[in-house]
Amino acid sequence: MAILEVEHLQKSFGSTDVLKDITFSVEKGQAVSIIGSSGSGKTTLLRCLNFLESPDSGTIKVNGQVIFDPAVQGRLSEKDIRERRLHFGLVFQSFNLFPQYTALQNVTLAKTLMVRQQKLDKNNPGILKSIEEEGKELLERMGLADRMGNYPHQLSGGQQQRVAIARALALSPDILCFDEPTSALDPELTGEVLRVIRSLAEQNFTMIIVTHEMAFARDVASHVIFMDSGRIAEQGRPEEVFGNPHEERTRHFLAGFSQS
């Protein structure tokens, strides 16, 4: 069964329709890449999934359960929205690490606060310690074992983005979204971030990856979505979309990449 089903999602800002009837689904353990030209709505789509924007219509289901439906959205409490958005994680193009916290604290902060808020640490005094252990383990998996105590400004862009990935993983989201995770990086630093994402794909994390790295989009994902001015113009297996696109628009877009 699909872990994520998005149906007929629409979003406009004022009079510009940014998402028009977006329908797609993601299987558990699948990596999906989203490609498309600038302004085609890729970021907006990820922001809708993460409740940073509110779609005008359409539904979002996770594990068959409706988590977004505009009919009830207005009546949800902030707490409901918080719980629902935790199905998703989001890695930003610009990392957005918290500058006043170390790499490890960035990873553990949200979970620690959540546990304190729910007073779970009262009955389970070891829980904070175990959050820290999990955080360390995540950073080790990102190849940052020797950087845990560093502040973001002491880290390279590639290291910061790997901390951001660990931070998102710390809350064990069902679906992890990446919005151009390497676009803000110097070319020599993109490799280390892409390697980490690739290894997550191999471990069958469910992921949606927006990227301009066409070679990466092709070989990390088992499903590719090509977006064009707010619509899904074409989607399918990477061999099809990249090797034998049906749509003229897809061909045109991909041709632009092979030239540059």
Binding site: N50, E78, E83, R85, N96, A110, M114
Partner: protein, 221 residues
Amino acid sequence: MKLILEQMPIVFRSLNVGFLQTLRLFFITLIGAFPLGLVICMGTMSRLRLLSSICKVFVWIIRGTPLMIQLLIIYYFPGLVWHNPIWGSGENGRFLAASVAFIINYACYFSEIYRGGIQAIPVGQEEAGLVLGMTRSQIFFRIKLLQMIKRVLPPISNEIITLVKDTSLSRIIALQEIIWAGQAFMKGSQGISGAIWPLFFTAVYYLAATGILTIGLGSLE
């Protein structure tokens, strides 16, 4: 010159007492205005329209009128209009009134500085917190507050230096701070009269205080 030398012990003792009152007003203003400014700031940024409008108008009135007028109104208004001099008589009453006026005034200035500091924080910080399931208050206190403090330190330092000198405005309601103490020797006090140098000399106290603060705040930044 000899006369001044003779006057010195008496004058300095008096100025020290006055300066102590100046410092008390200075510190109580800071202690009150830092948190009150934050409350007003959160009010002006509230998503409740009415609350934010009320706070904005209040800040506009306080920042748009002289502190001296505010002092006079706060000190005299209750007694004159309601026939209820809530401040009590004597130096303690004057100090209380001056403290209230200064705290409100500086809180409004601080609130605007805080607001600028918060608005200068990239929106990605809040969004990262939201995506991680943090509550609005966690995002404010755990993520934004410290970044805001870092950003507002320079403009707040300026206000702190200004406050040292602004305390002299409380002379208008006869608070016995250092200007009042210096002026007393012109009219006559403790056997000294017609002496203007004590008033001039108060400037040295202000200079010393602002000098120490400049160095201290500079090292903080």
